[in-house]
């Protein structure tokens, strides 16, 4: 019998999310009946490139470095309750991730766990670098210089549904569209056709609302006195109830903090959305411009009216490149005349870096003014007066091609301790490798996605 409602919980909205967030979600799903799923979204634009660099260092790695941390607390309880797991935590090495999960299952005494891998997102397997570079970019960043590290296309929901049809308890994906982590289970359970555009749109919208975890339950939302969130330290992660007809209800894990309100849902609905009538995904062009958002109970919000139009003819891919080195340093000045001491520190840094003879771009911030809102030129800070007394943190940042120069520039902040203005305190400075990314559009016929079960002894 085909299910009437599918429950999908989310256990992570990004790679660094709370390690134990999935525990109450799985406990809540275990008390419900019908098809139940747990998804984790762990793969931001740049995360996959970092995973690829890790895999170059160690071929067994390259899956999400947080895989074990976020999955182990629920792997056994999810399996016992029949909750199936779908995630892009395969990152740059889904097969390696699958082997790790099977190893965890052995260690934790979980017998017969079926793990499937989705392949096909890695463009470098089917296209040359020159071919990839020959594609025009979208989203406002040109094709970067530097060594190409990774090129991965956003797969749709079908291979995830296929993996579930093979009986997978855990589906390990690399790059896929985040909403596909929810749409895949819906295709599998409801047997929706990809041509059933309004249902595909509803499932995609559900995935979009879930994909950032607590961002729909009070996270990235709380604003004291304006938008208060109860027991915020224990914010519960979301669970979506999706009906066979495409009705979507967002709720959250039982016995947790946070809230689901029409406001939390509206903020997340529009998150990372450009034209709300044309949100492009591999499976559908989603139109949420006419949706209705209704509170139908405590922490229960129903969203209806998503419409679907034909999916775009191309698939989006993220291409990542080694991007040189970032050097940055910070130092604090506090108390009387702190502003003028901070400004003097900036003058000294400018002089010292000029004397080093580099032409690397420099940015100076005075944290405590309008640093995050300001441009690299500091025009906004210069447009208004700031008190002489107080607490100001000077920040200098630069980037360029070689690590040594980045280190030399960053070290100039450290040397302010003894050679800079009075009372400089709390220096932190670092040099870090940069990865730059660009987005391209790829013809669908260049991409072959497939799913298969991984055998425990086939590693």
């Amino acid at each position: 019998m085909t299910a009437t409602t599918v429950h999908i919980g989310c256990g992570a909205g990004f790679a660094g999310d709370r390690w134990d967030a999935a525990v109450p979600v799985v406990a809540s799903l275990a008390r419900r009946s019908g098809p139940r799923y747990l998804m984790y979204e762990t793969l931001a634009e740049r995360t996959l490139a970092l995973a690829q660099l890790a895999r170059i260092e160690n071929p067994a790695s390259g899956y999400s470095p947080y895989l074990e941390r976020i999955l182990r607390p629920v792997l056994k309880s999810a399996r016992e309750a029949g909750i199936r797991i779908v995630s892009n935590f395969g990152a740059a090495n889904p097969h390696g991730g699958a082997r790790k999960i099977l190893e965890m299952a052995r260690e934790d005494g979980i017998a017969g766990l079926r793990v499937a891998v989705v392949d096909g997102d890695d463009l470098s397997a089917v296209m040359t670098e020159a071919d990839i570079r020959g594609h025009g970019t979208v989203e406002g960043i040109g094709m970067p210089e530097g060594r190409m590290v990774a090129a991965n296309v956003y797969l749709g929901a079908q291979p995830i549904a296929d993996a579930l049809a093979f009986g997978a308890d855990v589906v390990v994906v690399g790059r896929c569209a985040d909403p596909a982590l929810a749409l895949g289970p819906l295709l599998h359970e409801f047997g929706w056709s990809l041509d059933d555009l309004d249902r595909i749109a509803a499932g995609t919208m559900a995935g979009h609302l879930l994909e950032c975890g607590a961002q729909v339950t009070g996270g990235y939302f709380a604003d004291p006195g304006y938008k208060d969130v109860p027991d915020f330290g224990h914010v519960g992660f979301p669970i979506a109830e999706i009906g066979a007809d495409g009705e979507v209800v967002i709720t959250k894990a039982d016995n947790t903090g946070g809230l689901v309100s029409h406001r939390t849902v509206k903020e997340q609905l529009l998150y990372e959305m450009h034209d709300p009538s044309s949100y492009l995904t591999p499976d559908v062009t989603l139109d949420v411009a006419g949706v209705r958002v209704e509170e139908i109970g405590p922490d229960r919000v129903r969203i209806t009216g998503a419409r679907g139009r034909q999916r775009p003819p191309t698939l989006k891919a993220t291409v990542s490149f080694e991007g040189g080195w970032l050097g940055e340093g910070e130092i604090t000045y506090a108390g009387p005349n702190a502003r003028r001491r901070a400004e003097l520190a900036i003058d000294v840094l400018r002089t010292r870096v000029r004397d080093l003879g580099t032409n690397w771009p420099l940015r100076f911030d005075m944290i405590g003014t309008v640093a995050t809102f300001d441009g690299d030129g500091g025009d906004l800070r210069a447009s208004q007066p700031w008190p002489d007394d107080g607490e100001y943190r000077v920040r200098m940042a630069t980037q360029g091609g070689d690590r040594r120069t980045a280190q030399w520039i960053a070290d100039e902040v450290l040397s302010l301790y003894c050679s800079g203005p009075a009372g400089g305190a709390g220096v932190r400075h670092r040099v870090a490798p940069l990865v730059t990314t660009a987005s391209i559009l790829v013809d669908r016929d260049r991409v072959q996605a497939s799913a298969r079960l991984v055998e425990e002894d086939a590693s």
Binding site: E45, E139, H274, G323, G375, T436
Partner: protein, 123 residues
């Protein structure tokens, strides 16, 4: 004029909430009024020209506003304010995550009843 009909000049934060998202070198910022009645007033006042000027220090390029009468809400898409995107920017906030609160500091004029804390007027 009754107290609640008095027009106050307040930061947008008193009238609406919102959230930033980023993709590439582009951010979107949603603006969702606390009172539905404020939506048409915000449409009049939050023009794309004014928002572009508000983000001038960031080097804002094209600004597009999408209006969502059902929610009601609006969604601004602002190009180039990330000054290279999360991976290329020297800015502390490479994602632009704080930028919704920059937009929420823009002054708007509304009847006092549509502002959460109408005493917080701006010059």
């Amino acid at each position: 004029m009754k107290g609640t009909d008095r027009i106050v000049r307040v930061p947008l934060h008193e009238v609406a909430h919102g959230r930033t998202g980023d993709k590439g070198n582009r951010v979107n910022i949603s603006v969702i009024p606390y009172h539905d009645e404020a939506w048409p007033l915000l449409l009049e006042q939050l023009t794309v020209e004014r928002v572009k000027t508000w983000f001038a220090a960031k080097g804002a390029g094209t600004v597009v506003r999408y209006d969502l009468p059902n929610l009601p809400a609006m969604n601004f898409v602002i190009d180039d304010v990330l000054q290279g995107g999360v991976n290329g920017a020297l800015n502390l906030d490479g994602h632009g995550k704080s930028l919704a609160f920059h937009l929420l500091s823009i002054p708007v004029e509304v009847p006092a009843r549509l502002a959460l804390h109408p005493e917080k007027t701006v010059g």
